[in-house]
Each structure stands twice: as C-alpha cells, then as structure tokens.
Amino acid sequence: MSSDKKHPKESDIIKLLEGDSSRRSFIKNLSIAAAAGSAALTTGCIPSLAEASTEEMKLRWQEFFKKHYRLMTQEEKDAAVGRLERLAKLENNLDLQMGSEPPIDGVLYGYGFNITRCTGFMECVTACIKENNLDRKVHTQYIRIFEMEPGKLDPSTGDGQYYHEVPVDNKFYMGTQCFHCENAPCTKACPTKATWKEPDGIVVVDYDWCIGCRYCQAACPYYGRRFNWGKPEIPKDEINTKQHYLGNRIRPMGKMEKCTFCIQRTRKGRLPACVEACPTGARVFGNLLDPDSEIRYVLKHKKVFRMKEELETDPKFWYFID
C-alpha cells in the first residue's frame, strides 16, 4: 500500500470542508476530517474520501465510525457483523459467519476444573488456539496448565512450561484462564469501557474500542488477559470462520484479548472448545442458575475452592477434588 493511500490527502479534506455550506454540516465534516487525520496517524488504515467510493473503503470508513457495541441497537449490530463479513471477503477472500448472539435469559455460566482428573495432556490448549484464532507466531494461549507439587495450590509455584510424558507420578495439574470474575477488577480499570461483564457473566472486550493501554491486564490478579504486540498470524486454512463479534474474530494488533468461554459456541448451546477437547473429563461447564446442571452438582457435592478467594473478585471458575 502506498503512503498516500494510508493518509487522507489535504485536497480531500478541503473538498470535504467545501462540499456543504451549512454551519452544522461544516462542523460535522470538520470533526470527521480531524478524526480521520488523527486516526490515520495512529492506525494508518483510514481511507481518504476519494477512495471511499470503492466498496471496501466505504465499509472501512463505516467500521471506523461505528458505535461502542453496548450502545448499538440489534439492527446496528447486524449491520456491523455484516460489514465485517463483507470486509473479510473483500480483503482476504474469507467466508465468515460472524454472529452477535445476545445472552440467553436465565443463564449464568460457570466452570469447574477437576484437579484430581487433569493429567496435563494440554488438549484443551490446542483446541482453544484453533477455536479462537489465536496468533500462531508468538504462541498466544489463553489456557495455561501448571504441573504442581502435591499440597501446593497456587499455580505460581508450579511449572507452566513442562514438556515431558504426563502425568508424572506424584504431581498434579492445574489449569488457569480468565475466570470471568463476577466482581471483575479488569473491567473497572478500563478507561474506555472497552471491556465489561455481559448479563450471562462472560467478560468480553470490544476490540474496536480497546485502545491497548493494558490497564486491565495489570488489574487482573489471575493473568487472564493477553495482548497483541503484533498482527496475529494464522494459516488461512486454519482460520475458524464461525465467529462472534465479542469472541473469536481475529483481533488486530495492539488489542487486548482473553478467554470468552467460547462465546461463539456457548450462546448456541455448545460446550467451550476446551471442555469438548478434554480427554479426561476434568472440565465441567454449565448454567449456574439451573439447579439441575452439572456445575451446580459440583458446587453442592464436591470440595471446591477458587483462586485468591480473599480478593473477593468472585471468579466463576471453581477447582474441585473428586
């Protein structure tokens, strides 16, 4: 891409300003031009007005000026996911199915992790990478598995980088990921309100409103968040095309991302990819508000604990023992 494609030309801005003589639209256009100018400096991807005549540029223009997800009506959400699908087709010839499914009434997701059963095979980790379109180059992983000494219950004392035959006798394995805290400190730290807790308990990020300041990452006591230092690289034939606006759509560089309990699956009744992949059944997922759900059985009948309970973050992720 040549440099004048990236930046709005001065003449375009003048044309824009001279285009209409009413005061109101003058100010409106001025602010758009200013935004486009500064945006071009920071992101380098805002098209000029002349180029906006092509479909792709028009879509990118509209994408750039769309609202915060939480302020969108359902029609606006539908339009936004439609634009993202079309852009993926135009830019990379990808046929995406982008969703904006809302939370299901009466559902609050909860997760159980059986530390007696986990054997450290890390099938969950690979399934998560594929499902959520994680960057293959720097090896981003939402889930980490720690090999632990008996009696220790804090993953920071365990080995998170083992690579040998597992399970090792007299060790146990403990997985971590975003715990979707009910009282999530990460969401309070965000200056742009780009991350929040949905009514079904899933803590999400609006990747287009995230400015990449990483305050949330510093606020999370569980190392639940991952930052895109570079442009994510995924082989084209491995891209998961079933996506959700708040979930596994491919994040641009400089954005925060994290486990979303596979929002693109769970809001359609499916299990998260990690639960489905686990060969030992160490992972339990379900609706906390359903008294007959598996996760409620675990909470009622098993010895459960949560990590750093004293912080009162109320994670919706419980470890349990058989």
Binding site: I104, V107, L108, G110, N114, T119, G120, F121, M122, E123, V125, T126, I129, H139, Q141, R144, I145, G160, Q161, Y162, Y163, E165, V166, P167, E182, N183, F227, W229, T266, K268, G269, R270, L271, V275, E276, C278, P279, T280, G281, R283, V284, F285, G286, N287, L288, L289, D290, P291, D292, S293, E294, Y297, V298, L299, K300, H301, K302, D314, F320, D322
Partner: protein, 201 residues
C-alpha cells in the same frame, strides 16, 4: 462505676448484634448461586450443533430424570460376538485376529486382577454379566462398571465425572464409560502433551 461498665457492655453487645445482622444482609455471590432454585429447561435453548452419534436412553435415572448416553455396540469392531462364538468349533484361519491377542488386560490390582468372565457373560457372548448374574447390554455397560466404581458412577450420573457430548444445553447426552476408558486397561496412558507453553510476557 458498675453502672457505667454495664452500660458500656450493653452498648458493645448491641453493636455486635447489629453488626452480625448487617453481615447477614449482604448476600454473597455464592449464596445467590446456591439459592437460585427456579427450574431451567435446557431444551429451550436453540442448538447450533445436534449430537449425531447414536445414543440410547440410560436405564439408571439421575434424580428420576432419564438422559442419554452414547451407544457402544457399533463402536466395537467385532460385535456381534456370537457371529464367531457359536456352538460350532472355530476354524482359526485368522488365528491371531480371532483370539483377541490385541487385548491387554490391565484392570484391577494384584490379586484382584480381572479376567474375561469377570465382565463378559459366560454363555451369551453378546452380553456382559454383573456379579449378581444379570445380563447387561454393551450399550449400558455403566451398569457393570458402576458395581465396583460406585462413587464414579454416582458422580457420572450427575455430571461431576465424565462429560456431556457437544452441548451444555439441550437434552442431556453423556459419554459412556467405555467411550473414554479402554475397559481392558482403563487407566489413561502416559504420553507427551499436545503442545508446549512459552513464558507469559
């Protein structure tokens, strides 16, 4: 003097009582979860992915609720067993294949190691047999496993052992014992992990 001490004590006591009431009034998130008793019908959630594997309704209900379990018989390579195990003598042309030499039996410890007929029916080879002599269908092998592994069975019925197939919602479909465990050597074999992890940034 005495009166003053008494007054102080009374004040302290009432403060304590008030304090404990205030504590009780602040309901924790866990209490809220434990107290939510409104029934939720999983089948109202529209499912993206249907379970395509063959299933059967279990014979053991969980809290009077019947659910489904993955069928087994079609997964067993040489079922029906009675196609070989007949009254006629076996002509062992494919001897190695027919003698089940691929089966490694590592089930039960030491003196309690199991042999074939501990689980397989003595006469009717298309069935399993439990310790009470009941005939058990291969699709319902959990009935057999559960006679020794009763704790696991109790957890499996309610969902703390084993796992659901594909969906958290919809009709409950779970893996059968033998879907995950090789019944002849049920312990998971040691192996290398599927991937490795690099340090967090």
């Amino acid at each position: 003097m005495n009166r003053r001490v008494g007054l102080c004590f009374l004040l302290l006591l009432s403060a304590c009582i008030y304090g404990s009431f205030a504590m009780a009034a602040r309901k924790s998130f866990m209490d809220e979860v434990r107290e939510s008793e409104a029934p939720f019908d999983n089948r109202t959630v529209p499912l993206e992915k249907q379970v395509i594997e063959e299933t059967v309704v279990t014979m053991s209900p969980n809290n009077d609720e019947f659910f489904r379990v993955l069928a087994r018989k079609k997964q067993i390579g040489r079922y029906k067993c009675s196609s070989c195990h007949t009254d006629k003598p076996v002509k062992a042309r494919q001897g190695l294949e027919l003698t089940h030499s691929d089966v490694v039996l590592q089930h039960g410890l030491g003196g309690r190691a199991l042999v074939c007929i501990d689980c397989h029916h003595r006469e009717e080879r298309d069935y399993l047999e439990d310790k009470k002599g009941r005939k058990i269908d291969f699709d319902h092998s959990y009935q057999l496993c559960g006679q020794c592994h009763f704790r696991q069975k109790r957890d499996w019925l309610a969902g703390a052992h084993g796992k659901r197939v594909a969906n958290w919602a919809g009709e409950r479909v779970v893996y059968n014992c033998a879907t995950c465990h090789n019944p002849h050597s049920p312990r998971f074999e040691k192996r290398f992990p599927a991937t490795y992890s690099v340090p967090l940034d």
